[in-house]
């Protein structure tokens, strides 16, 4: 039976390795100091756990094997006292291991999430079911895509104005809940450029599954460039005539009641800020990739893509729809 267990574990590991080829947001593929120190803790614990499992399971198997022989065991074989098992196996060994873990816990925890000088403050408010992201110092807003620079400490100021959600980017750091009526902080410094998937980790209602987001870690130059464009506001100058007409439709129809586009009359706050929509990778918090076809479906039948989401369907003529799409995709 142990052989079967090992075979199963081997199989699992093999599948796990194959899965790694697909680039999952794995906490064991850490890209920032907090995730890295937790990963180190994990491998230490894994080593201890594997040793404990093998030794104790070995005792269990040996106990059964000896017990099966029962009365036919050589009578003069010396048997340890019952209390010997309990003292060494049940008390001494666990106390030593737990003491190690207690020290590791406290030392690791002390090093993480410390306030630092020159932090970039980013206010993240969990919505149903997307993320409102604001850079208060620059007056910039976006949604479900968070840009941060490499090397600069970031202070995510986390809250919610509805139910409890949880902010989790496994490759960067552990999770922190966003709780209505309370502000939590997650402090981290990204060290490696890249796009990291984040997810809502706390069950929050019908579309908990599609409340993902990305954290885009950029070199400081790229980040500053992105920030400069956001500060200027893309909405002021639609790139084409169609886009300009789209802006008119957008502000005339229900869109502007919920969505904001920086520098235009659209200042709704119920839905995501769309000021940089054209530059985003996805629609509906990573529900589908951001392209014209998906956007058309999203505007007319949002529930088909993300059932239960709070955006109402909007009926537009084909012409108006195309114009709005041109407008939104041009917001870069």
């Amino acid at each position: 039976m142990t052989r079967r267990t090992w075979a199963a574990i081997g199989l699992v590991l093999a599948i796990g390795l194959v899965a790694c080829g697909q680039d999952p947001p794995s906490m064991l593929d850490s890209r920032a100091p907090e995730a890295r120190s937790v990963e180190r803790v994990w491998w230490l614990m894994f080593a201890l756990a594997a040793a404990v499992y093998v030794v104790v399971a070995g005792f269990i198997v040996m106990a059964i094997v000896r017990g099966r022989r029962g009365a036919s065991r050589p009578a003069r074989e010396r048997e340890p006292k019952d209390d010997t098992f309990i003292w060494y196996g049940g008390i001494v060994a666990p106390v030593v291991i737990l003491a190690v873990l207690a020290v590791v816990t406290i030392r690791t925890t002390q090093d993480l999430r410390r306030a630092e000088q020159g932090e970039l403050r980013i206010e993240v408010t969990a919505k149903r079911w997307w993320w409102d992201v604001r850079y208060p110092d620059a007056g910039v807003a976006t949604a479900s895509e968070i840009h941060i620079p490499v090397g600069r400490p970031v202070d995510f100021v986390l809250t919610s104005d509805n139910v409890v959600h949880s902010f989790w980017v496994p490759q960067l750091a552990g999770k922190v809940d966003t709780i209505p009526g309370q502000t939590n902080h997650l402090r981290l410094t990204a060290t490696e450029a890249g796009t990291y998937r984040g997810m809502c980790a706390e069950y929050c209602g019908i579309q908990h599954a599609y409340m993902s987001y990305v954290v885009i870690v950029e070199e400081p130059v790229d980040f500053e460039r992105w920030m400069a464009r956001r500060t200027a506001g893309a909405g002021l100058s639609p790139g084409s005539e169609e886009a300009a007409r789209g802006q008119v439709v957008f502000n005339r129809e229900a869109c502007a009641g919920c969505h904001a586009v920086k520098g235009t009359p659209a200042t709704g706050t119920i839905g995501p800020d769309l000021s940089d929509f054209g530059g985003r990778q996805s629609i509906g918090s990573l529900a589908v990739p951001n392209n014209r076809a998906n956007l058309a479906r999203w505007i007319t039948e949002p529930a088909r893509i993300k059932p239960g989401n709070l955006m109402p369907p909007t009926a537009l003529s084909a012409e108006d729809l195309a114009a709005v799409i041109a407008y939104l995709e041009g917001l870069r």
Binding site: D83, N184, P307
Partner: protein, 656 residues
């Protein structure tokens, strides 16, 4: 106390005196702890298989990425009901069911201390459970998760009846658990057979004692949490509404102040079962009895100091969390002690690998891993990563499925022969074990890895290309195998009712008192009460002596005269000196009526109908008043001619 020469077992006149009325009236009015205990077990297994089927449907949905078998709403209802039913309608009450059936037999007494309260706790559980389950047919299944975090389960975000079914159901099953626990404690302290001092109680009795104290202390917290939330929902208060100054974290504290002890409420009796099974099939007493009993009590205390480890991600101060992290590490120690007590027992014993023993060993191997991952999630920074991910789903199933359900299945194979008088097939049993064990590990082991790969729990689907597909397919296949394994036991169980071999009194050559009576036991359990002089009476006292009625009122109930009076002896709490007799009440509808009244009140709250609520309260109050006033009448000794003159009894005392 004098000693009877032969143990009187089944006496036709006694049977008539103790028997329930036939048919429906007897069914609704019985107060016999064995009928109630079996009912608990049957009802719980109904809910177990229903909740298990839901799990299989969920696994079918998750087997492939972006599947569309279930919509998000249905999936959310399914996982909510799966968890709620497994915790509130299976795990907790099924242990109460085994306790109900076995504890009076293990203690050598004729019923529970409060037989009518016992019937009441079952009816409340059944009706509350059925009402919660009925939401399935009304189409408003609870959808807020089994621990229903506020404000998600508040009126604003869950306006439908879904959450009311859940909240009121929890209040009801909590009531049932509390009533049952009070009954266990009094039974265990006051109804033990003479000679069964505390240090001679079977470990399972110890575990149910700890279960009961923990339940009494913990359940009020969850009742308060869900009750206050229902006040918010039904009557517009704002305990948990942040916009109106309520506190979200208060709910979480209250809920988990019950929630973590609850894990041990489930786990402790399961280990108690293992501590009965392993020694019997190792042919020797349990190693370290004091260590094990002490561990159970210690776990009971410590488990009240770990609840915050469910809230490590809520942004509490690090110093506070470090404390709870430490306590969560320490609570491992009592389990480690038990572990090595079991190992030592087998090491120095003579092991027989029966089905029950296989389930106990399977429990050891599974709980070992569940315990290890439990230590890991106590480590604060690691928990920040894995909490609310599939790692936790894996961990909690290793503990609550592997370390609780496996012992319960072992207990079925071990004790059902006592309950039904029929053996289960060992061949099918072993097959069932192996299928379950393999299926279990294929299902739940890969979930650890899914957690590392970033899969959050409670998602109804996931994108292709995240690399979660292969492991999820494997998990789903495993779950089908596990389900098949449980179905084999169900089949075995049903088959045994007609085709099982007769069990005899003591098929396993076990040590505790339940095996000294017939299988199934007569309605009065013991015509005369056994006299205990050992921790393992059936091994050390051959033949087992039974008491004879003395002349004094304290000792009259010990012998067969007590059985003729529908009495059972009361003994002192520590050293079991006979102190008097407890009247066992006759059958009565009152518990059923009281439970029904509360259920009508529940319905009234659910549909916001004041009239219905008032009718329910009126029924309940009437039943309670009647209950109080009729006590004398119910307890009146039987008509004089019901008890034959003593000299005629002698002949009928022979075992039948």
């Amino acid at each position: 106390m004098t000693i009877a020469e032969r143990p009187p077992v089944a006496d036709p006149e006694l049977l008539e005196l103790w028997e329930d009325a036939p048919g429906i009236p007897g069914f609704l009015s019985t107060v016999d702890h064995k009928r109630i205990g079996l009912r608990y077990i049957y009802t719980c297994f109904f809910f177990f298989f229903a909740a298990g089927l839901m799990a299989l449907v969920m696994r079918a949905q998750l087997a492939t990425p972006e599947a569309e078998l279930l919509g998000p709403q249905t999936y959310n209802e399914m996982f909510t009901m799966h968890g709620t039913m497994m915790i509130f309608l299976f795990n907790t009450p099924v242990l109460a069911g085994f306790g109900n059936y076995l504890i009076p037999l293990m203690l050598g007494t004729r019923d529970m201390a409060f037989p009518r309260m016992n019937a009441f706790s079952y009816w409340v559980f059944l009706l509350g459970g059925l009402l919660m389950f009925s939401s399935f047919f009304v189409g408003t299944m609870p959808d807020g998760g089994w621990f229903g975090s506020t404000p998600l389960v508040g009126k604003t975000y869950s306006p439908g009846l879904n959450v009311d079914f859940w909240g009121l159901g929890i209040v009801f099953t909590g009531l049932s658990t509390t009533v049952g626990s009070i009954n266990f404690i009094v039974t265990i302290f006051k109804l033990r057979a003479p000679g069964m001092s505390l240090n001679r109680m079977p470990i399972f009795v110890w575990s149910m004692l700890v279960f009961s104290f923990m339940a009494i202390l913990a359940v009020p917290a969850v009742t308060l949490a869900t009750g206050l939330n229902e006040l918010d929902r039904l009557f517009g208060t704002s305990f948990f509404v942040p916009a109106l100054g309520g506190s979200v974290l208060l709910y979480q504290h209250l809920f988990w102040f019950w929630g973590h002890p609850e894990v041990y409420i489930l786990f402790v009796p399961a280990t108690g079962m293992v501590s009965q099974i392993i020694p019997v099939f190792s042919r020797r007493p349990l190693a370290g009895y004091f260590w094990v009993a002490g561990s159970l009590v210690t776990v009971g205390f410590i488990s009240f100091g770990v609840w915050v480890h469910h809230m490590f991600a809520t942004g509490l101060p690090a110093v506070a969390m470090a404390f709870f992290s430490g306590v969560s590490l320490i609570i491992t120690l009592p389990s480690g002690i038990q572990f090595f007590a079991w190992i030592a027992t087998m090491w120095k014993g003579t092991v027989r690998l029966t089905t029950a023993m296989l389930f106990a060993i399977g429990f050891l191997l599974i709980f070992l891993l569940g315990g290890i991952t439990g230590v890991m999630v106590a480590v604060l920074p690691f928990d920040w990563q894995v909490t609310d991910s599939y790692f936790i789903v894996a961990h909690l199933h290793y503990v609550l499925n592997g370390a609780v359900v496996f012992p319960i299945f072992g207990a079925l194979y071990y004790w059902l022969p006592k309950m039904t008088g029929r053996m289960l097939s060992e061949k099918l049993g072993k097959l069932s074990f192996w299928v379950m064990f393999v299926g279990f590990n294929i299902t739940f082991f890969p979930m650890h890895i899914l957690g590392f790969l970033g899969m959050p729990r409670r998602v109804y689907t996931y994108d292709n290309g995240l690399g979660w597909g292969g492991l999820n397919a494997m998990v789903s296949i495993g779950s089908a195998i596990f389900g098949l394994g449980t179905a084999i036991t169900l089949f075995n169980w049903i088959r045994s009712r007609r085709r099982g071999d007769p069990a005899g009194d003591d098929p396993w050559e076990a040590d505790s008192l339940e095996w000294s009576t017939t299988s199934p036991p007569p309605d009065y359990n013991f015509a005369a009460i056994p006299l205990v002089a050992s921790r393992h009476p059936l091994w050390d006292q051959r033949p087992l002596p039974f008491a004879e009625s003395g002349e004094e009122p304290e000792t009259r109930g010990l012998g067969i005269d007590g059985a003729f009076e529908r009495e059972t002896p009361v003994t002192s709490g520590i050293d079991t000196r006979p102190e008097g007799n407890l009247e066992i009440p006759q059958e009565t509808y009152l518990p059923f009526v009281l439970a029904l009244g509360l259920t009508v009140l529940f319905l009234g709250l659910l549909v916001h109908a004041v009239v219905v609520g008032v009718i329910g309260v009126a029924m309940a109050v009437m039943a309670m008043l009647w209950w109080t006033w009729r006590t004398e009448e119910d307890l009146a000794p039987p008509e004089p001619d019901a008890k034959p003159p003593k000299n005629e009894v002698a002949g009928s005392r022979e075992p039948v």
